[in-house]
C-alpha cells in the first residue's frame, strides 16, 4: 500500500478517504446506540414497574454535582469540536491546546463522579449485602454531609415511598443498579476516550495533523460527542425523576 502525502493508495481523493473513515465510525456508533439502547430499555421497564423506588433513589442524587458534570461534559464537546476545527485549518498550536482542554474537562468529570460514588458508598446505597435505603435516616450522625433540611425531606420521602411500596429496599436497589451500571459504562467509555485523546495529543505535539490529514482527530471527536449524547440522556433519566415534590 503506497501513500502519497496524506492520501493512502486505495483512495482516489482525500475527500473519499475522509468519507470512508467517517462512515466506518458511524457504523460503529450505531452498534453503540443499540448497546446503550438495550440498557435504557431495561431501565424504562423497571422505572415504570417500581416508580416510587426510582423516584426515591433519584432524589438522593446530588443535582448540583450532576448538573455541574453535565456542563463540564458539554463544554468538553465544544473544546473537542474546536480541536477538529483547528486541525481542519492547520492551526497546530490550537489543536494541542483544545485537546488538552478536552482531556482536562474529562478529568474534572471523573473527579466529580468519584465524589458522587464515594458518597453513595458511605450512605450504604450500593446494591448488595450492605444496601440500606434507610441507613441515613436511621443513622443521621453517620451521614453528616447531608444537611438537616435535606435529611428531614429525605425522611418524609422515604416514609411516603414505603407506604406506596412496602418492598422499597429491594426495589430501590434496581434503581441504584441502573445508576451504577449506566454511569459506570458511560465512565468506561470516557476512560477509553481519554486514552485516545492522549494519543491524539502526542501526535499533535509531533505536528502530524493539518488540513490534509486530520482523520484521527475527526474520528475520535465523533466518539467523544457520542459519549456526550449518552450523558445528555442519562442526566434527566437518572437525576431528574419526580423532583417537583
Amino acid at each position: 500500500m503506497h501513500r502519497t502525502g496524506a492520501l493512502y493508495g486505495q483512495f482516489k481523493t482525500l475527500e473519499q478517504q475522509k468519507d470512508t473513515a467517517t462512515l466506518g465510525m458511524w457504523i460503529f456508533l450505531v452498534t453503540e446506540v443499540m448497546f446503550f439502547g438495550g440498557i435504557m430499555l431495561a431501565y424504562t421497564i423497571n422505572r415504570h414497574t417500581y416508580f416510587h423506588a426510582f423516584a426515591m433513589g433519584s432524589n438522593t442524587l446530588s443535582l448540583g454535582l450532576g448538573g455541574f458534570n453535565t456542563v463540564v461534559l458539554l463544554a468538553s464537546s465544544f473544546t473537542m469540536a474546536m480541536a477538529v476545527w483547528s486541525a481542519q485549518t492547520s492551526k497546530k498550536g490550537l489543536i494541542t491546546l483544545f485537546l488538552s482542554l478536552t482531556i482536562f474537562l474529562g478529568f474534572v468529570f471523573f473527579g466529580v463522579k468519584y465524589v458522587e460514588y464515594a458518597q453513595k458508598f458511605h450512605h450504604h446505597l450500593v446494591p448488595g449485602k450492605t444496601f440500606d435505603i434507610f441507613y441515613c435516616v436511621r443513622n443521621p450522625a453517620k451521614c453528616s454531609d447531608i444537611d438537616a433540611a435535606d435529611m428531614a425531606k429525605e425522611k418524609e420521602e422515604i416514609e411516603a415511598a414505603v407506604q406506596a411500596d412496602p418492598d422499597l429496599n429491594a426495589h430501590a436497589q434496581l434503581y441504584y443498579s441502573a445508576y451504577f451500571g449506566m454511569t459506570g459504562l458511560h465512565a468506561l467509555h470516557m476512560v477509553i476516550g481519554a486514552g485516545l485523546l492522549f494519543w491524539l495529543l502526542k501526535e499533535s505535539v509531533a505536528g502530524r495533523f493539518n488540513a490534509e490529514w486530520n482523520n484521527p482527530v475527526d474520528i475520535v471527536g465523533l466518539y467523544w460527542h457520542f459519549v456526550d449524547i449518552v450523558w445528555i440522556y442519562l442526566f434527566p433519566l437518572l437525576y431528574l425523576i419526580d423532583r417537583h415534590k
Binding site: 482525500l14 430499555l41 469540536a81 476545527w85 445528555i232 440522556y233 433519566l237
Partner: protein, 118 residues
C-alpha cells in the same frame, strides 16, 4: 463519484459557540422543567429536550448535516433500529397477559399513573 476534489465543509467556531450556548440553555431548561409538576408529561418534556440537544450535537458537532447521503442513511438506520427495539419491546410489556391471565405489572402501573398523576 466525481473525479474532481470537493473542499471539506468546515464549521466555523462561531457556529460551535452558538450550539454550546444553546445546549447550556437547554440544560437549564430541563432542570427547571423537572421542578414543575407536569404529571406524566415530566418525562416526555425531559426526553424531548434531551432529543433536541442530541440532534444539535449530531448535526453540528458531529458534522452529520454536511455528511454524504450514505452516512446520513447509516445514522437514520441506527435511529430506526433503536425505535424498533424500544417500540416492539415496550408494546409487548404494555400488553402482555401471562398464563394465569394476569397482566404484567407495568400495565397496572401505567393505568395507575394515568389515573392519579395525569
Amino acid at each position: 463519484m466525481s473525479e474532481h476534489e470537493h473542499t471539506e465543509h468546515i464549521v466555523s467556531p462561531g457556529m460551535y459557540l452558538a450550539i454550546i450556548t444553546t445546549l447550556l440553555i437547554l440544560t437549564g431548561l430541563t432542570v427547571g422543567a423537572a421542578f414543575v409538576n407536569l404529571g406524566r408529561f415530566n418525562i416526555a418534556v425531559a426526553l424531548l429536550i434531551a432529543t433536541v440537544k442530541a440532534t444539535l450535537v449530531v448535526l453540528i458537532f458531529m458534522h452529520a448535516k454536511y455528511a454524504p447521503e450514505r452516512t446520513k442513511l447509516v445514522i437514520i438506520a441506527g435511529i430506526f433500529w433503536l425505535a424498533l427495539l424500544l417500540f416492539m419491546t415496550l408494546s409487548d410489556y404494555a400488553s402482555r397477559v401471562d398464563y394465569r391471565g394476569v397482566r404484567y405489572p407495568m400495565t397496572q402501573i401505567i393505568s395507575h399513573t394515568l389515573g392519579n398523576r395525569g
